[in-house]
């Protein structure tokens, strides 16, 4: 009965109903777009981390969100030391990595160089690693001696997204700094997002070019049994207290904390839109209750309990909010696609994602907004005095 009454009332004034639902749709849509950024970052991180795939990452000092800085701090002697004890710790493979970010004001010319031994099995580091053009890093020698001014010190394999964004092709030369350049010998793709933005180069020429011959950014360790990552990292911490050992879950939790902080900020911004949407629903429902005072009085006279009217108004508010939420999710989805289009061009990553849990959250928030904004009008409807209402013209 309540549903029949509510739908009849809402469809009687379609323009008002549509405009109110639109207010909610815009509020929910903006919330979905804002929060989809966090979801997208999570997804990119999860797939990227899975693609990189170290069971344990070793850095110098305590790991935090700035540990992936461009300054290599890990002395290379630790590579040999840990290799010697690899079997005892159940370590199946160790990869030394030197990370170098060549910054630029223009995103298209900012590159992330990964220095790794040229004989590294890249399929182990990047899931479904495939050369789509040219060749792999090995052999590390290149034919060209220089590009006219800067000496070419080794080959480079470029991620497909970086290549597309920077207009890089096989045979091009990438200058690292005034004393070293790399010749592009291959274009590669892999599952996840990290390789998309990477330029892989041999470790030693990169170390030489940066003047960091005995330094690394970090080591990645693969274990015989990945489920022992936690206990192995603990044992390594005791043996090397000056180093930081992060398992994949450590890395995830640090990242998750950072994303959650940004979630709170973005949710705070969206809350303004949600409050405005809620006020729109409350205003519509209050107007509706006022206009229908006599009708409500008649329904009460006929025998409806006060809670019937309360339920009716709350139901109408919830329907408005949920219809608005569904439209808002659609708007948010389109918004997230637009953000991704822009972000792909800029940084080569899908930064926004409309996930099932985000959809569920949006629906729940809209339901909450509908409920809260309907409470006052519903209480007012329930208090309609019958004698006054039925006598009203």
């Amino acid at each position: 009965m309540i549903a029949q009454f509510a739908f009849a009332s809402l469809t009687r004034r379609p323009l008002r109903t549509a405009l109110t639902a639109l207010g909610i749709a815009i509020a929910v849509g903006s919330t979905v777009v804002f929060l989809s950024l966090g979801e997208g970052l999570r997804q990119a991180f999860d797939t990227g981390l899975a693609g990189l795939g170290p069971d344990i990452q070793v850095s110098y000092g305590v790991f935090d969100t700035t540990s992936l800085s461009s300054v290599p701090q890990l002395p290379q002697r630790y590579l040999g030391a840990i290799e010697e004890e690899a079997e005892a710790y159940g370590i199946s493979a160790i990869t030394p990595v030197l990370l170098y970010l060549r910054g630029s004001l223009a995103a298209a010319t900012a590159f992330m160089f990964y220095g790794i031994p040229e004989d590294t099995d890249l399929g182990r580091l990047y899931r479904d690693y495939t050369i789509v053009e040219g060749r792999d890093l090995a052999p590390a020698r290149v034919e060209r001696g220089d590009d006219g001014r800067v000496p070419v010190v080794g080959p480079a394999v470029v991620g497909e997204q970086t290549a597309q964004r920077g207009g890089i092709a096989v045979g091009d030369v990438l200058r690292l700094n005034p004393s070293a350049a790399f010749e592009v010998v291959g274009i590669a793709v892999a599952d996840g997002g990290l390789l998309d933005n990477a330029i892989l180069v041999p470790l030693e020429p990169l170390q030489a070019a940066l003047g960091a011959e005995d330094r690394l950014s970090f080591l990645t360790l693969e274990l015989d049994d990945p489920s022992t990552a936690g206990s192995t990292a603990e044992a390594l911490r005791e043996a090397y207290p000056e180093l930081g050992f992060q398992t994949r879950s450590d890395l995830s939790s640090v990242f998750e904390r950072a994303v959650r902080i940004s979630d709170v900020v973005r949710l705070g911004i969206s809350a303004i839109a949600l409050i405005v949407g809620g006020i729109a629903v409350a205003n519509t429902m209050l107007m509706s209750v006022f206009e229908r005072t006599r009708e409500f009085g008649v329904v009460r006279a006929v025998g409806a309990r006060p809670r019937f009217l309360m339920g009716l108004v709350l139901f109408e508010a919830m329907v408005l909010a949920l219809v608005g939420a569904l439209a808002g999710i659609a708007v948010g989805y389109v918004g997230a696609l637009a953000v991704n289009q822009y972000a792909l061009d800029l940084i080569g990553l899908d930064v926004a994602a409309v996930t099932p849990r985000l959809v569920a959250f949006a629906v729940a928030v809209a339901g909450g907004v509908g409920l809260l904004s309907g409470l006052l009008p519903a209480a007012r409807a329930a208090r309609v005095p019958i004698a006054v209402a039925v006598a009203r013209e």
Binding site: M1, G303, R305
Partner: protein, 254 residues
Amino acid sequence: MLRASGLRKTYVTPAGDVHALRSFDHAFEPGKVTAVLGPSGSGKSPLLNLLAGFDVPSAGEVWLGDVAINRLPERERSGLRLRSFGFVFQSFNLVTVFSALQNVALPLGLAGVPRAERDERARETLERVGLLHRADHLPHKLSGGERQRVALARALANDPAVVFADEPTGSLDSANGALVLSALEQVALDGRTVVLVTHDVALAGRAHSRLRLLDGRLDSVDHGGATVPEAGLQDAALTGPAPTADRAVPLTSR
């Protein structure tokens, strides 16, 4: 039986107390139309509000059988109105977003009657007032007389013991007024108590008894009986030809 004893209603206002109903005692007989007459401000509407359970008295009791309505909590009073009372208002007071059928089905729906059954019963009731062919029309598509007949059908939907009619012909032309009045007489013949509030003396003349209110008091009671002979009411039909003001309206029973 519906009866009132020592009924009073006083409204407290900043300008002082307003005694809307000073004293009222009466028993309304089932199977009869009782008209409540009086000029504006005599206390007719406050009395109706108290009898129908819309409002609570400042003193006194309203009884339906052995139940003191005014002592019931609002939740139970709502249930009593739903099961035992029907209402016909001067301005029809139909739910504007509902069709004629949905308006008649409203009390049934509130009483928890399943959709299919309530639609069937509502159709039967609409047929009794000759408006089945208008079942799917919204109130604004109906004439004044049709709206009041829908309101009457809604009042009868739950088979109530008492029907309250507040100036039921006030918004109608004389022909439609006569039609609705005849229908109310038929309702009384079915054994229900009909309380008719009006300031129209001619209309009240057709009731079985008349109560005159003056300044919030019961001024006089006239048991003169209906001016329309009961035999004349038996076989009439609301579904007959359009009535004229000076022609007896045929009625029918189910």
